[in-house]
């Protein structure tokens, strides 16, 4: 079918699929619409096109109402962490009310980021800064220890971390300010001597910490208060579990140097 042609390939100057779509979409002026409607009323092919247009409209409407899969956990965790990094509103700050048309605004200067990688790095920095502030101040989020993550499958498929291995030098982190390191670890895959997801999961299993590769939100070699280690972020429901293990950790020789969870949102309500 090409523009101006009927569905069966013949040409009838009185209508085309495009013209019927204009009629269907309320684009034509009343006189043109009336004439086209008359011409189409006695033509089964025109009726078929109008039926198809109705059906398309119905499908599109249905698309917006269908059940949706949940946001993937690693994106949800990033979102939670970014929001947790924002300082709470202090209240009473006047903000101009928008009119109905202003609700769809032009691009905001604050969002004028061109390079998405830069934006992601900036966001990760925000996450680290915010988490540090919030852990330190015990404000919007709370740091708790030894929170048990929901048990998952033990498959060894790839996790959500998409970045290539990153062999940047170990970063120095402090036990008293773990949150500040999160932004530097998120999305990294620097396993050091643990080599890969499997090595990390085995090491953690040796200390009875159940984790799956899909929960790993970032791994990086660190120096924890001067002690070499590997930090892993395990993304769970409404929390990020931060674990540091020795570089030579194995299932049979497992040790945990640090284990903290950062709560990034409210728990699900119980019914």
């Amino acid at each position: 079918m090409t523009d101006g042609r009927r569905p069966d390939g013949t040409h009838d100057p009185s209508w085309s699929v495009e013209l019927l779509a204009d009629l269907h979409g309320g684009v034509l002026d009343p006189a043109q619409a009336a004439g086209l409607r008359r011409a189409a009323a006695t033509d089964p092919q025109a009726a078929l096109v109008l039926d198809a247009l109705d059906e398309v409209r119905g499908e599109l409407t249905g698309l917006g109402r269908e059940p949706v899969p949940p946001m993937p956990a690693h994106y949800a965790a990033r979102l939670d962490a970014a929001l947790a990094a924002l300082p709470p509103l202090t209240g009473g700050v006047p903000v101009p009310q928008q009119t109905a048309h202003q609700q769809f605004s032009p691009p905001r200067p604050a969002a004028s980021v061109v390079n998405i990688d830069l934006a992601r790095r900036r966001r990760n920095k925000r996450m680290g800064w915010g988490a540090g502030v919030l852990v330190g101040a015990a404000a919007a989020v709370a740091a708790v220890t030894a929170v048990v993550l929901p048990a998952g499958d033990s498959g060894d498929g790839g996790g959500p971390v998409g970045a290539a291995p990153d062999n940047a030098p170990p970063i120095s982190v402090s036990r008293t300010d773990i949150g500040a390191a999160i932004g530097d670890v998120t999305d990294k895959r620097d396993f050091g001597a643990l080599k890969n997801d499997r090595g990390l999961v085995d090491c953690l299993g040796g200390s009875d910490i159940t984790a799956t590769p899909s929960q790993i939100g970032g791994v990086r070699q660190v120096r924890l208060d001067g002690v070499p280690g590997v930090m892993a972020l395990l993304v769970g429901d409404n929390r990020i579990r931060v674990v540091v293990v020795p570089p030579d950790c194995t299932a049979d020789n497992s040790k945990v140097l640090l284990d903290q969870s950062i709560v990034t949102g409210l728990p699900k309500p119980t019914k």
């Binding site: 039926d51 198809a52 949706v68 979102l79 969002a111 919007a140 409210l266």
Partner: protein
Amino acid sequence: MTAAAASDAELIAAHAAGDPRAFAEVVRRHRDRLWAVALRTMRDPEEASDALQDAFISAFRAAGSFRAESQVTTWLHRIVVNACLDRMRRRQARPTVPLPETGPGEPVARGDAMADRDTRLVVRKALQDLPEEQRLPILMVDVEGYSVAETAAALGIAEGTVKSRCARGRAKLAKSLIQLRNPDAIANVPADATHTRQQRVRPQREGR
């Protein structure tokens, strides 16, 4: 306030008043639905994730502008669409990565007849293939339910342009559907099949 029991509007008000926990509950309630909106619009999960984060940060900061006479869901929805459009304007020349036909962007399939499922898949595929200038108005008007005027304001184009772009886009989707039903000629479609379709879905025929 018990966060789980509070209304959305109460939570937004509590957040605007400085409650550090209220906004997280709003996010928890609406995140998945808005994720679907962002994913449909951006077509790429990473881009959708960033757009949704932009949107929630914007809503977090703008909570004081929310007025209780409107729905929180509607307010958030607009902010998400705005964030997506902002990102799309900025990326412009960057090619998008279409979603696979099944996967994270594909809404959960239900036990419909195979023909209905084929119809759905063909319409979705054809929608993904539309040029942005037609896909976005169709997404906003037909899928998300915005009026032509709201869509025109959001996209910065005339209302008549919204209507004509929607019509041209729908024409392409209709052609895909017709070709699915009868790849050779419409004359081969049995009359009773045509009749069935006429009875099945018939929303308002002429414009909004």
